[in-house]
Symmetry: C2
Subunit: 214 residues, 2 copies
DNA sequence: CATACTCAAATGTGATCACAAAAAATCTAT
DNA sequence: ATAGATTTTTTGTGATCACATTTGAGTATG
């Protein structure tokens, strides 16, 4: 049976293709420079070109994909300048979100962050790169969610999306770097309501990526 | 003759539809809450649904349009919280871009900004709202371009895009507010390489919009 | 007068297709 | 063997279509 309509609230084909593709990019499953085609994505997701096209257009608008002048689809290759600009933007936005979240960082949130951090320790030991990266993002996102600045958060997530492939592939087998101790410092700054220390730690955490190219 | 291909470098149908629609939103030709349909846009632009769909998806990703759960396309209606968050983001990004541009603001740039400001004066007197708004954006963009931070600038332009319809319609017939004197102050801060004064003026210029809702 | 129901028109979605351009593969001449 | 020419394949674009769902006007019911 041919199904084209969609009950309100049900997820559309476009929506699930988008989510899948986005996650692949965000978690570094696709290499910078790698090229994609509508038809192969369509067959991978067992659908037609149309929802794939929609997803590609959307992800291109978010900076996660690049469409060349001749229309070919690739994972963008970041120049060093672009990479540094993205990190700089991260540092500004994350500092701002952290400040806004700080007064609202109650015990429930801190507990949750601690639990995520324990998960990260576990994933690091058992070499589960994907889960480690996902947990790291979840740590940051959980904190920033408290800032209640949805637009700024979505801008930040787009920046993460643009960094995803490059960071994952620059790290290579070294994804296993210790972030847990830095996270513990962040937790104590939250506990102490120490805003200047929090900003310092967040900026350090973000700009720590800067040397992965060398 | 049916034409579907496209020489490299030539603008696609999707591209021109996108630009047209984007400008309409940016310059406030569409009212917040107004609904659009693929078919009517397609006939307006004398094309089929496909390029329109692409443009709508792209603009939705940029926050310039909203697609409801049932798929209907509208110009987003900003809540007061969302509006204030957008202004806050503008103030952060524009301050950052201004600082970066300041050391590179040589005489050629300042001349150009002065000329744009004269145009604005003219458009204000002859009641050309559209041209006035366009010139005001051009003033800011010309300055920020010197910051050589293309990603930050494109984020800023998306924020402008989200504010466009609401600002234009909240202003109504009062689009004619005097910005020229504030711009002159900005020019003198540039001339004096006075960074703290520049930030103060930029923030004042941006947050000056805050009371248009009352 | 308000509320629920009916039904036709309007709308976005996903699928499919032809086509021009680009890219890849094959062939040819030197 | 290699560079250039030619053919074949791949690819994105724009157009069109059927269809499920939504919408909104009209109507009936209380």
């Amino acid at each position: 049976m041919l199904v084209t309509g969609r009950k309100e609230g049900n997820i559309s084909v476009h929506g699930s293709v988008y989510k899948n593709l986005r996650d692949k990019i965000l978690y570094g499953f696709l290499r910078p420079g790698q090229s994609l085609t509508l038809r192969s994505l369509a067959s991978e997701f067992k659908t037609s070109m149309t929802p794939v096209r929609d997803s590609v257009r959307r992800l291109t608008a978010e900076g996660a994909l690049k469409i060349s002048l001749s229309g070919r689809i690739t994972i963008p290759v970041l120049t060093i300048e672009r990479f540094n600009e993205l990190l700089f933007i991260r540092s500004i936005i994350e500092a701002e979100l952290a400040i806004k979240a700080l007064p609202k960082a109650h015990i429930a949130l801190i507990d949750r962050l601690e639990s995520i951090n324990l998960d990260m320790e576990m994933f690091a030991k058992s070499f589960e790169a994907m889960e480690y990266i996902r947990a790291n993002m979840e740590f940051h996102r959980s904190l920033y969610l408290r800032a209640q600045s949805p637009i700024m958060l979505s801008i930040l997530e787009n920046v993460w999306l643009q960094l995803g492939p490059t960071v994952k592939h620059a790290l290579g087998e070294n994804w296993n770097i210790v972030k847990q101790s830095e996270h513990k410092n962040i937790l104590s700054a939250l506990n102490n309501q120490d805003s200047s220390q929090l900003i310092f730690l967040i900026k350090k955490d973000v700009l720590g990526c800067q040397n992965i190219f060398m």
